[in-house]
Amino acid sequence: MELLDSKLSRRRALTCLGAWSGAAVLWSVVGGVPRAYGKATDKDSARVSGFTFAQISDTHLGFHKEANPDVGGTLRRCIADLNALPHAPAFIAHTGDITHLSKPAEFDLAEQMLGEIRVDRIHYVPGEHDALDNGLSGYLQRHGSQGNGKAWYSFDDHGVHFVGLSNVVDFEAGKMPTLGDEQLSWLEQDLAGRSASTPIVVLAHIPLWTVYEKWGWGTADSPRALASLRRFGSVTVLNGHIHQVMQKVEGHVAFHTAMSTAYPQPAPGAAESPGPLTVPAGELGRYLGTRELHVVRGKSLLATVDRPIAGAADVAGVRS
């Protein structure tokens, strides 16, 4: 096991960040085990071998408030970093809130901008901001083909089974979001015939574990989904929604939430509300970018980091 000194890692992160205020997480699948790397351009990512993909989340195109008046600019920075990777990712996984207001112009802008990433495919799951006014119709018009008109789907790539889920519609008052019976039944059928040794990666916008119920940061019926995943030896759940990195491991299931490319949100319970966090001028990038990530050699899952990362963490010097 080799862990980069956390102080060094943090110092490096602060040094490297500069005006950076967006981030993409680079994932590599080595021996069937997904591993997260830090900021996409971190030199450690040059050591990535095998199958890689990148995660982008919460681009919120259309947001233009105090917390970040230029979400297009921060996304462009993120795209540039991805395009500068020495090993291009096989694809991008966008974990929702592509747009801020579900406007057609915002979806169009997202398609144009994300199309500049040098990958041949992007897999999306919807966020609740992509489901305004006319539900998921705008989202599904653009990204519904993979699920034959549904917002959930699966596909296989390099021996990994990927599942995209939707937990952003039909909200009930005072309750956390749900996946719903129809989708859960589909998930159970989708997984039923697969070998337990198949690595599984699940994409969903809202966390599939309860990060903070008071703010709705969880999925009420996720236990049923997790029950169908539990028999697999390697399950990685990638979420967005909370605009910060958090990690948790339960058995063979590792949960990860991602940074937004648009604006930060407070750590769970650290503010009166989960609204966009306005940080002092010049510190937005550092606020979003600081991250510490630990990978332990020989473990089938990422080490548990079951705590809020209230600050920043962009470059996590990851070695394994």
């Binding site: 947001f63 408030k65 105090e66 917390a67 801020h100 207001l101 579900s102 609740e128 901001h129 305004l132 006014d133 909200f171 009930e172 008052a173 005072g174 309750k175 956390m176 979001p177 008071k214 703010w215 709705g216 009166e272 509300s273 989960p274 609204g275 966009p276 306005t278």
Partner: protein, 112 residues
């Protein structure tokens, strides 16, 4: 300052009406402010025919879902308003369709 004036305008009929918002005699609709992911007030009683207005002061978007009235507002960006006229007596729980932990209720009943 605008928010303070709006709050005072709301507080006055509440104080006089013991929880009632008497929109029929007010200059404008009964107003519910959205601030810090909360509805204020989040429990109001109005007479039938009252127009209720929600005003979003948050930096992010909200919308209003009133299941019993089959109402779903468009997304409300900062400063946006949404109004709905409550004609039929009854209790109308509502929520933000983006943040379901944000809830409130409008009671509609004739003044005794």
């Amino acid at each position: 300052m605008k928010r303070l004036i709006a709050s005072l305008a709301l507080a006055l009929p509440l104080a006089l009406g013991f929880g009632w918002i008497d929109a029929a005699q007010a200059a404008g609709p009964a107003t519910i402010e959205i601030d810090q992911f909360k509805f204020g007030p989040n429990d109001i009683t109005v007479e039938p025919g009252t127009i209720v207005e929600w005003v979003n002061h948050d930096q992010t978007i909200h919308n209003i879902i009133v299941p019993a009235a089959r109402v779903s507002s468009p997304g409300m960006d900062t400063g946006d308003h949404y109004t709905y006229k409550f004609d039929a007596p009854g209790d109308y729980p509502y929520l933000c369709g983006l943040h379901p932990h944000m809830t409130g209720v409008v009671h509609v009943k004739p003044r005794a």
